[in-house]
């Protein structure tokens, strides 16, 4: 059936023995390059580019979390910004006003908030399918938006500030200070590495395989004895938690949160990053995040009406490259015959 939400092409192929470690060297190279950048850039361009890259990596974490849902679980969530926002707000609200807070505890609080929300929302939205699911996830994110916007919980539409960046003391020592741009950058990089590794692990596990099986054919999975709702809920919570990680880092970087981070534009951007890069691969999410943020930055230097360019670009990109930029890379780099890139209908 055309437009079938469950017929996502470019789906990840699980072959015996295969794991998303393929291209593991590629990841290592990327992380090494990213780690070395602050040292390479030197004093000159440091602040601006390092901060920009930190922003990009935070978005990459956000996109990766959504990739688990869209690309692997086949759940098209248009409300993922809610978990990002809840974690960011939790960070801001839990941060003490008088002095720097404990970064580790704030992290815990942020992740717990995101996970809890994902659990509650997931339990409800997973009762629906297809287009209903898309709309319902969007609507719940709007609910979160309005809670922050209309109520006085955290400054309403004006938002809330974090006056002091948190400290990350460990056993009396201070391994790094996030007030230093480079240190924060490395913290974000570490989080990104953890996210990629964590998700790769999840996908390699029995849970991950079952999740993809459910996406390919839920009926068969149920016939085999899988309680599919629970798996999907698990994925929803894991995805929400990683989105929370991104939200937490965002809050620290900017020191300011406002309801806009829960807006559907934010959710739409996340989805765009995933599709632009390519649904169904972790590399796609990272590639999509990098491309999108850097493109947006570039467009905004060209004209005040950069959204026009962005809108046009989105339309063209999705129309021409439905499987994302990653598919371009595949076509160019891998001439060997692909085994059974068949329908998943």
């Amino acid at each position: 059936m055309p437009g079938d939400i469950n017929a996502l092409e470019g789906a990840p192929r699980l072959r015996a023995g295969a794991a998303p470690w393929r291209g593991g060297l590629g990841w290592l190279a990327l992380f090494a390059l990213l780690a070395a950048l602050p040292l390479l850039l030197g004093e000159q361009g440091q602040r601006f580019y390092i901060e920009l890259l930190s922003k990009v990596m935070i978005m990459a974490i956000f996109a990766l979390s959504l990739q688990l849902l869209i690309g692997y679980a086949g759940l098209v969530s248009l409300g993922h910004a809610a978990y990002f926002a809840v974690a960011a707000y939790a960070t801001a609200m839990l941060a003490p006003q008088a002095g720097p807070g404990n970064g580790w505890l704030l992290l815990l609080g942020a992740l717990a908030a995101a996970a809890a929300l994902a659990l509650v929302v997931g339990a409800l939205v997973l009762r629906t399918r297809g287009v209903y699911f898309i709309m319902v996830t969007l609507a719940f994110a709007q609910m979160v938006f309005f809670v922050f916007h209309d109520t006085r919980i955290a400054g309403g539409s004006d938002g809330t500030y974090i006056y002091f960046r948190p400290e990350f003391d460990l056993l009396g020592a201070r391994p790094f200070d996030v007030n230093d741009v480079a240190h924060f950058y490395w913290l974000v990089l570490g989080a990104l590495v953890l996210t990629v590794a964590g998700l790769a692990l999840v996908l390699r596990s029995r849970f991950g395989h079952a999740l993809v099986g459910i996406r390919h054919n839920e009926q068969r999975m149920r016939a085999a004895g899988y309680a599919t709702y629970r798996y999907q809920l698990g994925a929803f919570v894991v995805a929400g938690t990683f989105a929370g990680l991104a939200g937490y880092l965002y809050a620290i970087q900017y020191g300011f949160v406002n309801p806009e981070i829960a807006s559907w534009h934010q959710s739409g951007n996340a989805m765009l990053m995933v599709i632009l890069g390519g649904a169904g691969s972790l590399a796609g999410a990272v590639l999509g995040a990098f491309s999108f943020v850097l493109l947006a930055e570039w467009f905004s230097t060209l004209t005040r009406h950069w959204q026009l360019l962005m809108g046009g670009f989105i339309i063209v990109a999705v129309a021409l490259l439905p499987h994302g930029l990653v598919s371009l890379a595949r076509v160019l780099a891998l001439p060997r015959a692909r085994r059974g890139q068949g329908e998943s209908r």
Binding site: L14, S205, R206, H216, R220, R222, A223, Y226
Partner: protein, 284 residues
Amino acid sequence: MNAPVLSARRLTRRFGGLTAVGEVDIDLALHEIHAVIGTNGAGKSTLINMLSGELPPSAGSLQLQGRDVTGWAQPRLARAGIGRSYQRNNIFLPLTVRENCRLAAQSRAQRAWRLWEGAQRCRTSRALGDEALECAGLAACADTVATALSHGQKRQLEVAMCLATQPTVLLLDEPLAGMGAEESARMLALLRSLRDGHAVLLVEHDMEAVFSVADRITVMVNGTVIASGDPASIRLNREVRQAYLGEEDAEEGTEGDAEEGGHGSAGGSHEGGPRRGAGREQAA
């Protein structure tokens, strides 16, 4: 007859004003193939959906090995030992045959929370999966991706996946659907081999296949059971012959010769056609 493994009593399913299945009793015993036949719209699909847990019954009860499992959802019934194959292929097309079976078998060792263990390392699922695909005769094409299989092989895979979770009860929904002569023969041999150790329910349109393989036959018309017993007595049963062979033949009433006459049956349209037609011509 041994004690039934799966037992349904007065199983009923209504859709609004329509009673698709009305007060059906059916027993599945170990080492036995119990076929359910009937005209289109007889309620066979609804029945099998209720037995597998995909549809909750409107009334009636279901017992599995003495336990009351009425209203249990499909995953729960599947874990309790009920396996199902579908009329239309319900396999994972992008995966290899081996991975198809392994993934189905993994249901026996889900341990979803053990995220650090790779799925491919799960020995239980690999062993059970391989066993199932060998049982179904797919050892030769274990590493072929499912989209590349022939229709007959896909149907075999369909059965293999049903077997992968080592169920006690097998609910097979038209496994011969769309098969040619040679593939059907292979599938029939497979079905016969499944008798041992399983209680098999077979829904089929192919009469010759049914009569050659079934130990018991239940005949449904319009949602109710009109006859149930061993193949010989079903063959002679007046009501059955009326429903299938048309009034004329029933009145001619020659005993022990159900295949003669060769009229088109009153049973409506025929899917899985080729086998049936061939069967009738041979008998004439």
